[in-house]
């Protein structure tokens, strides 16, 4: 299964190298940064805080607002900073993928604002955004039933592959981002662009679940390390 090598030398079920950090922005209540191959995404979370404008607030629950945005310098050709149709849609689906995990009923009449800023785009930015946003939410101390972790799978040259690069994304026959709560094994987002047979779909889905769980472990290690590092620093003194 793994002998087919991709353009960047990866096996078909191999993720790109991933690094994650949390607590990197002082002003935000929670923040995270993720690098997945050449994709680099920064996320800031504010809240729960007062809703402005006030009429948007809901009496029984908190609301979630999300802005997914690609920096003008994130692609080879300059991207206009104006939100595109695509960015508006991704903002909505990222919000929905995360809102399912958040205990919104604990903070009525408030808002949780999520800013996903793509610094460099090379495929899988919505998934990297969801993964990082979930970390930033945890960093902000916002109650969630589980973390949310995401990864794309797709069909490229007739093979089901995981974690597509920008180049693979352009060439692929099908592309399927999946977001999931790894402990509860519940899917919060699934999209499919292109065509897969039902067998291919199952293969792709299982591969995505496997990848998400792997990324989930990295998320957990990142959160733990943040506090363990403070502990080590204290003991060193």
């Amino acid at each position: 299964m793994s002998e087919i090598v991709r353009r960047d030398g990866r096996k078909i079920d191999e993720l790109r190298p991933i690094t994650m950090k949390i607590g990197i922005l002082d002003k935000a209540d929670g923040s995270a940064y993720i690098e997945q191959g050449n994709t680099k995404v920064l996320v800031a979370v504010y809240g729960p805080r007062e809703v402005h404008p006030r009429h948007l607030g809901l009496p029984e629950t908190a609301i979630v607002r999300c802005r997914y945005h690609m920096a003008p310098f994130s692609t080879r050709e300059r991207k206009s900073p104006m939100p595109t149709r695509r960015e508006v849609e991704l903002s909505k689906i990222i919000k929905e993928a995360l809102a399912n995990a958040i205990m919104l009923n604990l903070y009525p009449r408030t808002t949780i604002d999520i800013f996903v800023e793509v610094l460099q785009a090379d495929g899988g930015t919505r998934c990297a955004g969801i993964t990082a946003a979930s970390l930033a939410l945890a960093d902000a101390g916002i109650p969630m039933v589980d973390l949310v972790t995401a990864c794309a799978v797709g069909k490229w040259n007739g093979k089901i592959i995981v974690d597509l690069t920008g180049e693979e994304d352009e060439e692929c026959e099908a592309d399927m981002p999946v977001a999931l709560m790894p402990n509860l094994e519940k899917v919060t987002l699934i999209q499919l662009n292109g065509r897969l047979t039902s067998d291919e779909f199952l293969e792709a889905f299982n591969l995505a679940v496997k990848a998400c769980k792997l990324i989930g472990e990295l998320q957990k290690a990142t959160l733990r390390n943040y506090y363990e590092k403070i502990k080590e620093e204290v003991y060193e003194q």
Partner: protein, 230 residues
């Protein structure tokens, strides 16, 4: 489970306890007989009750809490107070001037201006209204001197310590008077600027190192060496 005994760090969705006989405390939920965490925090099981002390979080007002706030707006009949929370504080003029208060005779600005800090008690809060404050009571009212320091509200219990061990240590060794607002705002009144700064620095240390054991000892050591230098 062992996780809870040593106050291990748990993450959202982490399994803390399994089986019957456990009670659900704060920041945890039960699903299919298992108890999971909602937040990043330290897990503990006391008398079968499973809880997680969050390492970050916002202040949600509770009736009876003493809070410290800063006036951010003055209207004709009330002050709007920033209480370091998603919900704002409201101090009605009748709380200060009595039931016979009339808006055409009194200018609220003369009593409390924007930027003034107050110690107040939450008189009522029911999630449909903002937190109604009162400054009638001993130790409440306008703050005249000292400095304010902020701490993550969920770490207030750590700042107080077991039976007040941490806060009493800070007060005794520094000679400062320290008033803790449940909303994570702390008033430090000391004999001089240096001792106030020292306490503020130690409060920031408590905020940062709340999850590392032996914190009270480390704070005591810093306090004593700093006091010896003077």
């Amino acid at each position: 489970m062992a996780a809870a005994e040593e106050r291990k760090i748990v993450l959202p969705g982490d399994l803390i306890a399994e089986g019957e006989g456990y009670e659900v405390g704060v920041n945890v939920y039960r699903d299919d007989g298992r108890i999971y965490s909602y937040v990043v925090g330290l897990a503990s099981i006391v008398d079968g009750k499973v809880s997680v002390t969050a390492l970050k979080g916002v202040y949600v007002p509770k009736r009876g809490d003493v809070v410290i706030g800063v006036v951010r707006e003055v209207s004709i009949t009330r002050w709007l107070v920033d209480i370091n929370s998603p919900y704002q504080g409201i101090l009605p003029a009748i709380d200060v001037f009595g039931k016979r208060f009339s808006a055409d005779k009194v200018n609220l600005q003369d009593y409390l201006k924007v930027g003034d800090a107050i110690i107040a008690r939450v008189a009522s809060f029911d999630r449909t209204t903002d937190a109604i404050l009162t400054i009638g009571g001993k130790g409440l009212g306008k703050i005249g001197r000292g400095r304010l320091e902020y701490i993550t509200p969920t770490k207030i219990p750590r700042l107080i310590g077991k039976r007040g061990s941490m806060i009493n240590l800070l007060k005794k060794e520094s000679g400062c008077n320290i008033t803790i607002g449940k909303n994570g705002v702390i008033l430090i009144e000391g004999p001089n600027g240096e001792s106030e700064e020292l306490v503020a620095e130690l409060i920031r240390k408590v905020d940062r190192e709340a999850h590392v054991p032996g914190l009270t000892d480390r704070v005591a050591e810093i306090l004593r060496s700093a006091m010896k230098r003077e």
